[in-house]
Symmetry: C2
Subunit: 154 residues, 2 copies
């Protein structure tokens, strides 16, 4: 339940790898080779993340992608939404949607609350968290994280 897709896992893998040299451009081919992932799939994931503003891209020789922001400013919710679409527990839970399913039920308002609870719970987790070699729970991580590097300062 609440499973993320494989592509999202790949995405995190790719981003954490790119976080290791934040300046240089990494190409899909390089990343594919380094991480032992199929190149077309890596390319697809990179495109998705680029679309959502997580990456800068550059074409041509010596081109590739790099992080558009520091890892501490990229929230896990952005990565999830980039690859899997908007974060909602049912379609009915989307901000302005009402229930469009075959059956009609009056639960969308409730699901919207559940959705909000999940979203606020994980939004403080940033790419930085995944870059740690051994995570010892979230409390320790958040304690170590300065408020200035909080992702999604909305």
């Amino acid at each position: 339940m609440f499973k993320i897709g494989m592509l999202t896992d790949y995405g995190i893998l790719i981003l954490t790898h790119m976080a290791k040299n934040p300046q240089g451009w990494s190409s899909a081919a390089e990343l594919s080779a380094s991480l032992n992932l199929p190149k077309p799939t890596v390319a697809k994931v990179l495109k998705l993340m680029n679309h959502h503003g997580l990456l800068d891209s550059h074409r041509g020789k010596q081109g590739g992608y790099r992080l558009s922001r520091s890892p501490g400013r990229i929230s896990i919710t952005e990565i999830l939404e980039a690859i899997e679409g908007p974060l909602h527990v049912t379609d009915c839970a989307l901000p302005h949607a009402s229930c469009q399913r075959i059956i009609q039920c009056d639960l969308p308002a409730h699901w919207r609350v559940v959705n909000e609870v999940i979203h606020s719970a994980i939004k403080e987790i940033s790419l930085d968290f995944f870059c740690q070699s051994k995570p010892c729970g979230l409390v320790g991580y958040l304690a170590r994280t300065s408020p200035s590097s909080t992702p999604n300062p909305s």
Copy 2:
């Protein structure tokens, strides 16, 4: 992303309906008629929830199902797990599993933390919350809820 299945939505619908007469036995046929849902599907969902101890069942004439506990003591996480299986963000995030995917990645420990964050965020939401006609956010709901009726007193 993080979508619940339709069956889970049905499940909540069914449980909230049953919460209205906690004493009597509701049959799959009755529930199907009341909620305008296909009977075989209702039966399937009821079976799943019964397996996980959310319901009491009784066979034969005048038989059916009823809630095994008061709505305030049934956590949304139990309902989710009953219908969709264990709550984990990846298979690798399960307590004792390591990454069994084709690719090998060192993220399970991180996902496990994310999983725990989500789980603790929503575990206080009970069936009672879904029985409210107009939810006004979670804070109000939790304020109104007495600590004694907290689900999952683990």
